[in-house]
Point group: C2
Chain length 289, copies 2
């Protein structure tokens, strides 16, 4: 954690892939005291094994006691209920953030719950994968990931600074966006690819060409890897962000329209393909070190 922004104790609510990785990263660097709440005793026990210096508990008040920063790492749907339970145990001045993939709805719920909004700001670290759970957690999960912090007009600057410094200290590239803008952007770069991957898999498995899936090469595998992600989590994310997701699907369709028109008219697709290729190459160069 950045000097000048003292975070002495972090409470992690939910030791899954994200929360578990956070615990490993913080404990590994001896950056601060790590406290963890897990609902299931066997997961708490597993966390203690992987991260012996952490204080882990199934009691949420124990977990948040004395923490400067509380990070909600559970599914989005249960965050508000947990926030109500942990609120009475929060240390004075404690800051709360979360790691949910959709920000508009959750920020609207959590902000009034947690000290009138002054001590809460949303976060979304773009880290994860198609395999979830503590067993896949790793200390470097957040390294070089984008992390979007989503202040509102009610968020105070010190809270934004504290949470941003926290993610920066874990190796994230931090961006600040209002929750609604975040949701529109993430619909395009995360939620839409998930829907497309699922649709590609289902189209290839359909009756049009039996056995087609036997023939796939590395391109298909890469394009559809995310379709292996956890169903309940993605169901919740897509429904929570439905307006932005529907807009993203419409945008995808307009680009498919252009391809269909060119094919129907037997005209070259080179302009379309070159535009996509140039953009994707710029992204590749920007993310390669």
């Amino acid at each position: 954690v950045k000097p000048g922004i003292p975070i002495k104790s972090v409470a992690i609510i939910g030791p899954g892939l994200l929360g578990g990785s956070l615990a490993l990263a913080l404990a590994g660097g001896s950056r601060c005291a790590v406290r963890v709440w897990g609902r299931r005793p066997e997961v708490v026990a597993q966390l203690r094994l992987r991260c012996p210096s952490a204080v882990a508990s199934t009691d949420i008040e124990t977990a948040v006691a004395g923490a400067d920063l509380v990070v909600l790492c559970t599914p989005v749907g249960i965050m508000a209920g947990l926030a109500e339970r942990l609120r009475p145990a929060l240390a004075p001045g404690a800051v709360v953030t979360d790691t949910g993939s959709v920000k508009g709805a959750i920020v609207e719920e959590l902000e009034p719950l947690l000290g009138g909004g002054a001590r809460f700001v949303g976060s979304h670290p773009m880290a994860g994968g198609d395999q979830v759970g503590l067993q896949h957690a790793r200390a470097d999960l957040f390294h070089d990931a984008a992390c979007i912090v989503t202040p509102t007009p009610r968020t105070d600057a010190a809270t934004v600074e504290k949470v941003s410094a926290f993610w920066t200290s874990l190796g994230c590239r931090v961006f600040h966006l209002p929750p609604g803008i975040h949701d529109r952007a993430i619909a395009l770069v995360s939620h839409l690819p998930h829907i497309t991957a699922a649709a590609l898999v289902r189209a290839a498995a359909g009756p049009d060409a039996p056995g087609a899936l036997d023939l796939v090469g590395p391109g298909f595998r890469d394009s559809t890897r995310i379709a292996m992600g956890p169903v309940p989590m993605w169901d919740e994310i897509l429904l929570q962000n439905r307006d932005a997701v529907l807009a993203a699907i419409r945008s995808l369709r307009s680009h498919l329209d252009q391809v269909e028109t060119a094919l129907s008219q037997k005209t070259s697709l080179a302009g379309i393909l070159a535009d996509a290729r140039e953009t994707r190459l710029r992204l590749q160069r920007a993310t390669l070190k």
Copy 2:
């Protein structure tokens, strides 16, 4: 090459990613004599450096002289012209195959050109990547790749057997499909994902959410990697296979429709997502060793 199916000399037409990798694989295993034709002297010189045991030439008659098997590894659009040029130099009984991504049109062109169809059969090894050219060639490119051999009613069994044994000896999993069935299947598992990747990149780069591309995680990168593929090659492939590609886009749209309906009605997407996940996991298990 499998015992009992003697291939003593292979001529490779076009030392790009596929042809170069073929030369490296064959020369490395000392499986047979390797002959290579390249149009550009500098590429022929580069091939000689990487594969000193090969006979490499810019003269196509020299390259095919005495070869039992000739493999066309050029862009699909120039294969027929090259076939006409090399035909007079073919050894008696020589078999010709190709590596094009679209089979219907090219098989229809090449079959009558090359000995009345008896000595030609199409092939499509599902190997490659977004980086092309001899500099990216590698001896293990074909290892564990699916390779579709596409006989027609006019192809004789010995030709199919010889070409299939050739690909098997390189580590491919060989399938036999009629050219039209191949094209429909490959439209779904290769051509459609390319179009989708391009559309995803263009949607994310559009005006709906400026800066969205700064936020991407590994999911977006994997889903769109193939959009970096070579534009002229993909333009040619998509136009050559336009009917099957248009049908594949329609199939994708019908799966997007289902997602949109569920989102519009605020009903769970779990059935759709679970179907895709199960299918993709089966594919993962089948391809993991």
